[in-house]
Every structure is written in C-alpha cells, then in structure tokens.
C-alpha cells in the first residue's frame, strides 16, 4: 500500500515538473539587454525619479512606488479598512467609509487621476474610483491621506471614473452597469430597454481646496460605460466615453453583449451642459448619497448625507451628447496630448480606430449622422475617423502617449505593448509582456505634456515569473525604457492588490511639499491634550474619555482605575512629538478593532469596550526609541456597580496594600 502511494506521488511529481517546464514560455530572459540593471539601480540613500501612484484593485487602496527602482513606499488606505494604521477603525476615520448603505469597509479601486493645471501635472491631488459601491476619493499628495470620499447616486458601479479635465474643473463618474433609477426601481430585469438608465456624473472640484460636489448628472440610454478621457487643448470642453453592451443585454453578456460589429464612443460637450444649467434647464432630483470629508485641523472625518442631485436629459436637451460607432466592445478611450486624436480600443477588434476631433466637429455641424440610438444622434463612422491602425495585435485595451507623438497600446490577448505613430498610424515597435497586460502607464502619459522615458505594464497574470506562493501568485508590473527607438524591458517588480491603472509623476512635483509633521499648536481635535498637563480621564455616564499623550517613551496617564463593566472607553491619544517620522501606536488587549497609528501632532481615538474584570495592559505599537518596550500602561476594570473611584496617573508609586 505504502509503495503504491509512494510511486503515485513520484509519478505526479514527475508529471508536474514536466508540465512546469513545458508551460514555460521560451525566451523571456533573452528580452533583457546587458545594461538594464544599471538603469533601474537607485543607490542606497538616493531617491527615485518618479512617484508611481498605482491602484490596488480589489484591495481598495492605492500604493506608491518609486520608478525606476520599483520599490514600494506605501500602501495608502482609501476605500478599504486598514488595521495597520487604524483607517476605518479609529473614531476619526470611520465616517470616511460611510455610504447611503451605512458603513462599507471594502471596495474595488481601479483608476487613478492626478490633478492637472493647463493639462499638466500639478502634484496636488490623486483621485480614485470605487467600482463596487459607487464612490470617488480624493487624496492629498502632501499628506498622502484620503481627505474626501463622495458617493454617487443613480450609479450601478463606478468604473468609468475618475478621469479629469484639463484644469481639474471636473472629474467624471460613469456607471458601468445601467440600472433602474428614480422612483420606479422594482421592475423585472427583462425590462432593461425600457427601464434601465445610465448616468454620467460630472464632479466639480474646488480649485483651491479640492473639495468635490456633483455639478450635474447626465441621464443616458441604458448601456455599459467602460472608460473615458477628457478632451484637451482644442477639444477642451468635451469628454469621450467608451460604451459597450449597446445590445442592451441583461444576461450572459459574454455572448449577448458582443453581437454587434460596432458599439459606441460617446462624445459629451460638457460646456454645453453648463450652458443649459446656467439657463435653468437642469432638474433637481431626490437622491441619497454620502459626502465624507477629513478636517486637517481636527484630524476628524465627518459624513453628511446629501439629498438631491441636478440632472440633465440629453434626449431632450440636444447638442450635449453624440455617439460615434466603434468596433467592437471598446474598452480604452484615450485622447492624445494634442487633444486632436481619440484612440478607441475595441477589445474584440482587429484594428484600432483613431478619431479626429476636427472631423467630429465638422460631422456634427453638417449633421452627418447615420441615425439615432435611443434618441441620441449617431455620427457616421467614416466621417469621424482619422484612420485605423492595421493589424496592431490581439485584444487592444489602453493607450498612453509619449512626448514625441507616439502611442503605446496594451494588448491583453497577445500580451504585448505596441508602439505606433499617432499621425501616420504606422506600427513602430512591439515588446512582449509577461503576461496579459491590462493598463499601462507612461509618466504624464494622459496629460498634455508627457514626461516619457518609461512605460510600465500592469499585468493580470504572472505565472512563472516569481517564486510560487501557492495558488495565488504575486501581482506584477514591468518597466520598459522607451527613450530609444526600441522599447527595452528593464525590470519586473511585484505589486500589491491587483494593479489596474496608475499614473507616474516626477518626484520633484511632490517630494518638496511633503508634510513632515502636524503642528501641535494647530491641533483642534475636541479631545486633544496639548501637553501632559492636559492629560486626564473624564466620565460621561457610561462613557470614559481618556485624554492621553504619547512621547518617547511613555504614555500619560499610564495607570487608569475606576473603569467598570458596561463602560465604553475612548482612548484619545495625542502624539506630542514634533519630529518627522516619529509616529506612536496604541493598542489594548482584547480590543475588537485594530491599533491606531498617531502621526506627530495628531490625535486619534480607539474605542474599547471592556469585556472582563481585571487589569488590562496597553502599549505603544510603533518602535519609537530604545525604551519603546517600556512604553506601556494598565487599565483596571472593576465589576459594574463597584465603588472603585476614577483615577489616573503616570509615575506615581503608591506604597499601599490592595484595596
């Protein structure tokens, strides 16, 4: 019996080894040229040239890498709770994740948009979308903190987002799934054509504070919106969206939404929409959506429930939107740096159509339409077309641009990046990716002024590229040098979450402005203790508020007595340090949430409901000094109704027997 087992194991082993080697594609290593290592080597203590702000996909976060080294600097919590810092666990951050559905601790973050001024990166904010429970987030690039999250009403899933206009006037949010909206929402799924609608929200950005609010929402026919890009330069004032499922299928979309040879690019004249609003032609509609905002002065987030949204109906208000036929199930929809060309990538198409903004305008002026779709005019394909890139590869997805008039398109099915000239439409070069590339990123690639130099591939499959770690392998990116005529693979680097889109920005636009500390003098938290003199413990009914301070390396107070079963204890911990890179942490045994990390000058609050009588230790979790291990304290929990008085101290030694 034993021998049989052994030989089976042996056979399986041989078989799997054979499969392993036989599946290994031939020759990826040969793609590396000799000097690749020196091009990505950033010596110890030296800085990278670019920040790469990368979406985390299903981890709901963003991550920050250095380019060209591929080193990971930070996972930046956005839509998902993050026990490592207490994001979504501390009392201050919980409101950030509030929605019309209540507290939602997770989402799926796909796309990044960095703020721009006159079409160029300005290094102020990063925006990200929540694909599942529709939201948009704004991150302050001084503090690398999520400062604001805005929910989107009447949306089935926010995929076509958060793309940005030339001066950060608006970011958009187009629904991936059309759904029934308004009062009539309990309808048979089979009434898709009649009852399902799409919406595109234009979110206005305050030019000084960055604060977001929904400027207006466009009601659209029921289709799926995928991706989008704003016009720029001559096409500023327009926005372009890829649409699929113009079949309006509601089941087995894999088959039923791929019937037509062409779907649409939707061109939106948002300046026209603004004119209609100025004329009072918008309609205020009841809606329920959360608007969450972090106040840097109090270090606290608040959540406000909004009640209405301004809508425009482009089937009535003509001249706002137009459809342009596009082969086939278009995914990426990218405008080139000049703003003249719109590149649409049909996932199932064998060509890449490039549309001309000038021609689109001429076709609209001449009413050169082939008909209407759900009340919206459809421009003739040939009338809008600049030309087609012939035989580029299989499964084109996304396109980024360099500063020399070239485009770089990712091909999922054929696992490659193809470089081509935007004007001549001629294919110039192609390199393999390992494997199945999704988005790609050229530093400044979506702006009017690309920085060029590199293209980064974000791959969907890594297979044999790294040491295996069980069934789930690392996600990965690949860095290519594009400074010469030929693209050159330089580096594979692992990424966290599932990277979708990313942007890269010169470090010089962000690093010099990075916040080092929060000034303790400017801390307006209602429970701040600005110095140990203000540390105290206050009872309000069954709530016990501990105003605690942390500094290397002790907590004040560190002895607390008089807490009783049935109490809810709030530790409001103020970090008194005013030096860069000296956070303190705080955790208490049995707490049902997480630790909190408190930045210098900040106050953060951990809620703790004691569940047994005894003396419970708490301590600093972030190694802070040689005496970090001494940075601890005790909270005594007595039975409900006990007469132990509330008292607190640090450094007081009592010579008493037990009371």
């Amino acid at each position: 019996m034993k021998t049989i087992k052994k030989s089976v194991v042996l056979l399986l082993g041989v078989a799997s080894a054979f499969m392993f080697y036989s599946c290994k594609p031939k020759g990826p290593q040969s793609a590396i040229v000799g000097d690749a290592a020196s091009k990505v080597y950033v010596a110890p203590g030296k800085y990278d040239e670019f920040y790469n702000i990368v979406s985390g996909g299903f981890n709901g976060q963003m991550s920050v890498y250095g380019i060209p080294s591929g080193r990971l600097f930070k996972i930046l919590p956005v839509f998902s709770v993050f026990p490592e810092s207490g994001y979504g666990y501390s009392e201050e951050t919980k409101p950030m994740l509030n929605t019309s559905h209540g507290f939602v601790p997770w989402d799926d973050l796909h796309h990044i948009a960095l703020s721009v001024t006159k079409g160029e990166h300005d290094g102020r904010w990063a925006f990200g979308n929540a694909n599942n429970t529709p939201r948009v987030a704004r991150i302050n690039l001084k503090t690398f903190k999520t400062e604001e999250i805005l929910e989107l009403p009447n949306s089935g899933g926010n995929h076509s987002s958060p793309f940005i206009t030339e001066n950060s006037e608006y970011i958009v949010a187009g629904t991936r799934f059309s759904v029934p909206v308004g009062d009539k929402r309990d309808v048979p799924i089979s009434t898709y054509k009649e009852n399902f609608k799409g919406t595109i929200s234009f979110i206005k950005i305050d030019p000084i504070t960055g604060r977001m609010n929904i400027g207006f929402q466009l009601k659209t026919p029921g289709v799926n919106f995928d991706l989008s890009r704003a016009g720029k330069g001559p096409s500023h004032g327009w926005f372009f969206f890829s649409c699929y499922n113009t079949e309006q299928a509601y089941t087995l979309l894999e088959v039923n939404a791929t019937q037509k040879d062409k779907d649409f690019i939707m061109a939106v004249n948002w300046k026209k929409a603004e004119e209609y609003i100025a004329q009072g032609k918008g309609e205020k509609v009841k809606a329920k959506y959360a608007h969450n905002l972090l106040d840097e002065g109090t270090h606290m987030a608040t959540s406000e429930m909004m009640t209405e949204v301004l809508q425009l109906d482009p089937t009535i208000l003509k001249d706002i939107i137009y459809f342009i036929p596009c082969p086939k199930s278009p995914h990426g929809c990218d405008t080139d740096p000049t703003g003249e060309y719109i590149v649409a990538s049909g996932k199932l198409a064998a060509i890449i159509p490039v549309f001309s903004f000038t021609k689109i305008q001429a076709a609209i002026a001449a009413k050169d339409f082939e008909g209407e779709f759900a009340g919206i005019p459809v421009i003739k394909y040939e009338s809008a077309l600049h030309g087609e890139v012939k035989k580029p590869g299989l499964g084109p997805l996304h396109t980024e641009f360099d500063e020399k008039g070239n485009a770089y398109t990712s091909f999922f099915v054929s696992s490659e990046i193809v470089k081509w000239n935007v004007k001549s439409l001629e294919v110039l070069d192609r390199v393999p990716t390992y494997y199945s590339i999704g988005h790609l990123c050229v530093p400044g690639g979506p702006t009017s002024k690309p920085h060029g130099k590199y293209v980064i591939a974000y791959n969907k499959i890594t297979k044999d590229r790294y040491l295996p770690t069980g069934p789930e392998l690392t996600q990965s990116a690949q860095l290519y040098d594009i400074s010469g005529d030929k693209m050159q693979l330089l580096l594979d680097f692992p990424t966290t979450g599932e990277p979708h889109y990313a942007e890269a920005i010169p470090a010089s636009l962000i690093a010099p402005n990075s916040t080092k500390i929060f000034k303790i003098e400017e801390n307006n938290h209602p429970y701040v203790a600005k110095g140990e003199k203000e540390a105290k413990v206050v009872r309000k009914g069954n709530e016990v508020h501990v105003y605690m301070t942390a500094i290397r390396s002790h907590l004040v107070p560190d002895n607390i007595e008089g807490i009783k079963m049935g109490d809810v204890v709030y530790f409001h911990v103020t970090n008194l340090e005013q030096d860069w890179d000296v956070p303190h942490g705080f955790a208490i045994k049995g707490a049902a949430n997480a630790e909190i990390l408190i930045m210098p000058g900040e106050t953060q609050t951990l809620k703790w409901t004691p569940d047994e009588v005894g003396v419970v230790p708490f301590y600093c979790t972030d190694f802070c000094s040689a005496l970090h291990q001494e940075m601890q304290g005790y909270a005594r929990v007595s039975p409900a109704g006990s007469n132990v008085p509330l008292k607190f101290s640090t450094g007081v030694v009592e010579e008493t027997s037990s009371k």
């Binding site: 060209p68 500390i517 110095g531 500094i551 390396s553 002790h554 340090e577 005013q578 040689a626 450094g651």
Partner: protein, 156 residues
C-alpha cells in the same frame, strides 16, 4: 587584460545609465541648518547652531516667560521636570547656571548636530539614552523657553 576591460565597460555603462535626478530632489530633505553652523565651534560652551550671542535683560521679560511656560507645558514637560529630578531628560533646576544661554537655545533648535558633535550634549545622551526629540521649535520659541528657565531658576 580581459577582466580589466570588462571592468571598464561596466563602469562606463553604470555612469551613462544612472538615472538623472531633478536638482531639487537632490536637495530634499532640507539640510539648511548644516552650512549655517559649521563656523561656530570657536566657543565650545555655546554649543553649535545659529545662536551666537544672546542678550539677557533684567528684570525678566514677562511676556516671554508666559509664552515659554505654555511651550514648556505642550512640548517639554513630558520629559523635563522643573526640579533637579531627571526623568526622561534632565531636570531644569539651575540649568541657566550650568549652561550658557546660547548652548541651551542651540540644543533646542539644532538637536541633531548637537548630539553629533557637541561633547556636553553627547554626555547627556549617554546618561539618558534617549535622543532629545526635535520639537519643531523656532529660535523665538527657544528664547521664550530660556526666559522661563531663568524664572524657574529664581531670577526676577
């Protein structure tokens, strides 16, 4: 001969391919304090830093004293007692009699260099085993704290 050549080729490649960095990044983080202080080692009792001479007035400047006390409560009291007792850092009793006013203010505003180069500051680090934190104090703040220290030492 051959290894020698390979070496040269590698070096050349390394030099030509090292990433160019924007100049302002090279200067980041800000190290502006360094250049200003190199020349002040002449009087070791005054410490190292931007503060070369401090003029003390009698009677005490009371507005400075009250500002200094507020700063003490917020940023210093966690580690320094007003008595001679050492807790995390030394007690402040008689500090203005032990130290030059310039030394005290340089210690507050230029901690990293003081701990690196000033023998007296280094002795304190050996004693306390805790680097005094940079509490982000301006020269004006440090002057206010000094005035409060004088009052704590009994000056009028």
């Amino acid at each position: 001969m051959k290894p020698y050549l390979t070496g040269i080729v590698c070096l050349t490649l390394l030099a030509s391919c090292a990433p160019d960095k924007p100049k302002n990044i090279e200067e980041f983080p800000d190290q502006s304090t360094k250049s200003a202080v190199e020349d002040v080692i002449s009087d070791p009792t005054k410490g190292l830093g931007a503060i070369k001479t401090v003029t003390l007035k009698t009677p005490l400047e009371l507005d400075r004293v009250s500002r200094g006390l507020a700063i003490y409560d917020m940023k210093c009291s966690a580690c320094h007692k007003l008595t001679a007792q050492r807790v995390v850092g030394p007690g402040w009793k008689d500090i203005t009699k032990r130290r030059q006013p310039e030394w005290v203010m340089n210690m507050i505003t230029n901690i990293d260099m003081m701990l690196e180069k000033d023998p007296e500051a280094q002795k304190l680090l050996e004693l306390c085993l805790m680097r005094m934190p940079n509490q982000n104090m301006s020269i004006g703040d440090a002057r206010d704290v000094l005035e409060f220290m004088r009052q704590n030492d009994g000056e009028k």
